[in-house]
Symmetry: C2
């Protein structure tokens, strides 16, 4: 019959602490779950989730250099090169030399890029809602706010260490 060993001897209860109290476990499971629900939303963008975040970053603010852009979305400059190649080939971004520093290239989002981004944004919103489905509205908002706060300082510290990506 079905194994279901849990039914046999339930003598081993949650003896204090288990996986669910591990922050690393939560992060791992949520990362996987978000990838699961969001992959389809960005499937038609070059680079998938990475391409999406690049477009989001480009949609607001000054046209950044490739390096600055990579730091915003935690992508190595070597990855940025071919990711931007793909986005440019599809007409979602353009690159032009920075007049102030001829080593650098400014990255700009195109109208087509904005259009695709807006469509993807709607799909991503649905995916996010699915991920947080069993939180009520205030809890979901609180979780988003706390995550954003931790992520913001995490990014700052990533720039300090600045060893790898």
């Amino acid at each position: 019959m079905s194994n279901s060993s849990s039914a046999a001897a339930d003598a081993g209860p949650p003896e204090g602490i288990g996986l669910e109290s591990e922050l690393g476990w939560s992060i791992r499971m949520i990362s996987a779950a978000f990838r699961r629900v969001a992959t389809g939303s960005v499937a038609d963008l070059p680079g998938g989730a990475r391409g999406y975040l690049v477009l989001v970053a480009l949609a607001s603010g000054e046209p950044p250099s490739q390096l600055a852009l990579g730091r915003q979305v935690h992508l190595d400059r070597t990855v940025m090169t071919y990711l931007l190649d793909d986005l440019e080939a599809r007409g979602l971004i353009t690159r032009r030399p920075d007049p102030r520093d001829r080593r650098a290239r400014q990255v700009l989002i195109t109208d087509e890029g904005r259009a695709q981004l807006d469509r993807a944004r709607g799909r991503i919103s649905l995916a996010e809602a699915r991920l947080l489905a069993d939180l009520d509205e205030p809890d979901a908002r609180r979780l988003r706010e706390l995550l954003a706060r931790v992520a913001r300082t995490a990014q700052r510290e990533a720039l300090v260490s600045e060893g790898g990506c």
Copy 2:
């Protein structure tokens, strides 16, 4: 001089929505940051963070099959095989045939495994605290609780989809 193009024209303020409002960005940055602060804490465990989570799962409850264990920590059974090989070679776990189902093997943590786990747990706690450093105690507790809640249902849905890992 240093480029610091941000100093030049600061005309591009956060015009409404940017990366920080993206849940996917927060998750991405936090995953990377946690890996950064926690890798050292589990460096002497076979499999690093994955080995650590396996030990945590084994430390409480009934000895699970390799498959059940993999589902708890979101690892494919093909990965479990050599991860457990490594943990067993170091004497942190043992495997024995399940008397009720001779296809399956029960995985047990050893005394040495518990000892190493306890030491790693202390180091991980410090790393977690570093990650959440700029939250006060109530906010940190709230974030942990919300993450655990989302992670728990995320895991349940992973078992349903059960296509990949």
